[in-house]
Subunit: 180 residues, 2 copies
Amino acid sequence: MVFEEKTMKSERIYEGKILNLRVDTVELPDKKYSKREIVEHPGAVAIIAITKDKKLVMVKQYRKAVEDFLWEIPAGKLEVNEEPKETAIRELREETGYEAKKLSYITEFYPSPGFCSEKMYLFLAEDLAEVESGPDSDEFIEKEEMDLDELMKMIDRGQIKDSKTIIGIYTAMRYLREKE
Amino acid sequence: MVFEEKTMKSERIYEGKILNLRVDTVELPDKKYSKREIVEHPGAVAIIAITKDKKLVMVKQYRKAVEDFLWEIPAGKLEVNEEPKETAIRELREETGYEAKKLSYITEFYPSPGFCSEKMYLFLAEDLAEVESGPDSDEFIEKEEMDLDELMKMIDRGQIKDSKTIIGIYTAMRYLREKE
C-alpha cells in the first residue's frame, strides 16, 4: 500500500521569476519525519508542430542550466491566468512565427516529479501558416523543420537530449503512422 | 546563430540534500543582462527492467512535489562518486529486489533543461533474478510487472504521467519490436 505524505511544516526558501523553492517536513507512513525539497513551477506547454510535408518544427537554443545547445520542440511557461492552449498559441508564434489552424491537446506529464511541481501540457499543431513575429527578447533561437525519421535517428545517436522533445517525437511518429 | 550565455555573476541561494539553487546573471548575445534561476541536481538513472515474459517492472510511489501517486520505472539519484551503472544496480535492487544479469546503457537526457542541470541515464535490465532486499527507509513503494501494450494504453489515457517513464516505455517497445 502506498500512502500520502502529510505536511507537518513548510519553509519558503526562495521566490523567483520562474520558480520558487520550499522545504516541506513530511510525516511518512511509519510516523518518521523526512524533508522534501520542492521546486514550484507554474507549468509549461510543448508543441508538436507538423508541417504540410510532415516535418517537425524544431528550435535550437542555449540552455544555461545544462551548458549546452539543445534541439527542442517549441515550448514555454504558462503566464499568470493563462490557459495552456493560449500559451501554446503564443509560444508557437513567438518561437517559430507559425500560427496553427488546428491545435489539439494531446496529454500532460511531469518532467521531474521527484522534486518539481511542473506540469507539461503537450499540444499538436497542424495546418501551419507563417505569421509575422519574432522570438522573445531574451531568447535566441534557431528554427529548422526536420524529418521524423531523421529525428528518430538523432534520438538513437543521443543528439536529442530534452525529455519533452523525445516524448514529442515518439508521439508524432505514432500520430502520423495512425493517419497513414 | 545561437550563442552561449556568459556568466557575469553567480549567487548561491540554497544548498540542500538533493538539490542546490543558484541565480546566475548572464550576458546575452545583444549584450543585455538576464537572470537564470538554476537548480543544481547530481543526476539520476532510470531502469527499463524487462522480465522473461516481456513485462516491464513498474513502481508506484507518492510524489510530494506533485501531490500524486505515480507509476514509474525504477529510478534514483547518483550518490557522490557513484558511476551511473552502479546507481542503476543499486536502485533496481532497492526498489524492486531484482538483480540483472544483463544491464546495458541506452541513452541519457535532461528532464528539465530550462532550469535544472539534472542528467538522466537510461539503462536496460534483462535476465532478472530476485535477490533479497527491501526499499529505502524513506521510500514507500508498490511494485508491479506490467504488459507493454497495456502501458501504451495507459500513456494514451494519461495514466503514465512521469516523463522518464513515458520515454522508458517507448524505448522498451522499440527494443522488443527489433528483437522479434
